[in-house]
């Protein structure tokens, strides 16, 4: 038996109901997992192992996703899939209407066996238009977006310094990058990390 685990076979096994747990897969932690896989996609081309869209149906551990280009996708959540929705979370937190990006491997029937699913994740470049109690009003491409500070989760990185929970140094007019989770029902977001320029 080869010493190196074949990732595609493992995910396919998990997707098909094999007894494979996240602990057993180990290297499914995103940073380590991506390091192990060389990119084989031609620069400029679409990646067949990546899906973008909104969840239109959840059936067991299968997500039916409608891509923004209207293409339909099936995504299989396995025991080894890492799920992010503002923070690492579990499958029961995923809902119909959520947007997502997913990466994994294609099974023979076209289903994507997901390595990682990032639910409602946004990474906005914006200016701070106003600061309120536990929220920021962002100007993003001419659109106003309300960004909520989530106590215990939201953090700020001030010009490359280590992330801290104190967001009080953010000022109106500053340019920021905001990594967070979108609320499909209100179009507002929760803040995971704010990167603030000097």
């Amino acid at each position: 038996m080869p010493q190196t685990l074949d990732r595609r076979r493992l995910l396919a096994t998990a997707a098909l109901g094999g007894v494979v747990g996240a602990t057993g897969l180990g290297s499914l932690a995103p940073e380590a997992a991506f390091a192990a896989e060389p990119a084989a996609v031609e620069p400029g081309a679409p990646d067949p192992n990546f899906v973008e869209g909104r969840i239109s149906k959840i059936s067991g551990h299968l997500l039916l996703v409608t891509g923004s280009d209207t293409v339909l996708h099936s995504i299989r959540i396995t025991d080894g899939t890492s799920i992010w929705k503002l923070h690492p979370t579990t499958f029961d937190q995923v809902a119909i209407g959520d947007g997502l990006y997913a990466r994994g491997v294609r099974l023979p029937d076209g289903t994507l066996a997901a390595d990682s699913v990032w639910v409602n994740i946004v990474n906005l470049h914006a200016h701070i238009a106003a600061v309120g109690r536990n929220l920021l009003h962002l100007d993003h491409k001419g659109q106003r977006i309300v960004a909520h500070v989530v106590p215990g989760r939201s953090a700020a990185v001030y010009n490359g310094t280590p992330a801290i929970s104190d967001l009080s140094l953010l000022r109106v007019g500053r340019h920021v990058q905001v990594l967070g989770a979108w609320h499909p029902d209100t179009n507002e977001i929760d803040i995971a990390t704010v990167y603030a320029a000097a």
């Binding site: 679409p46 973008e52 990682s116 990032w118 906005l124 659109q143 010009n159 000097a198």
Partner: protein, 136 residues
């Protein structure tokens, strides 16, 4: 071009959900979140006038739509090849910013990848990584 070292982030483009829905096809008109593409801060005079990497002391070559770059995530060594599809990042707004993984560091934002490309070399939940960028 010798490899340059800096920071890489990600951005969405093309048809999309949520706040990304207003992103459009980027400066080249071809940008799609699911494609291996990137934004580069010197795609034209108009682009350079916005991004101004020179104010951070960077000399970045003029490259136009479709040009290939290869980005290496210095946290794990993984690498992805992408083509230019947009102008960005706005380097001058984050002059001097520094991101590290242990002793591997990068300063100043030099490239933004699409979600498909960024997620091939790192997790989208980490918005910023030190990187090196080259052309081969």
């Amino acid at each position: 071009m010798a490899a340059i070292r800096g920071e890489v982030s990600w951005f969405c483009c093309g048809t999309a959900w949520g706040p990304c829905g207003t992103a459009g096809g980027g400066a080249c008109g071809t940008c799609r979140s699911g494609n291996y593409q990137h934004a580069w801060p010197n795609t034209s005079d108009a682009c350079y006038a916005i991004t101004h990497p020179d104010t951070c002391g960077l000399s970045m070559s003029r490259r136009t739509c479709g040009f290939r770059h290869y980005t290496t995530n210095l946290c794990n060594g993984s690498r992805v090849g992408t083509t230019i599809a947009d102008c960005g990042p706005q380097t001058d707004l984050f002059c001097g910013e520094r991101t590290c993984c242990g002793s591997a560091c990068g300063s100043n934002r030099i490239i933004d990848l699409t979600p498909a490309a960024f997620s091939a070399i790192g997790s989208l939940s980490v918005g910023l990584r030190p990187c090196s960028v080259d052309t081969v």
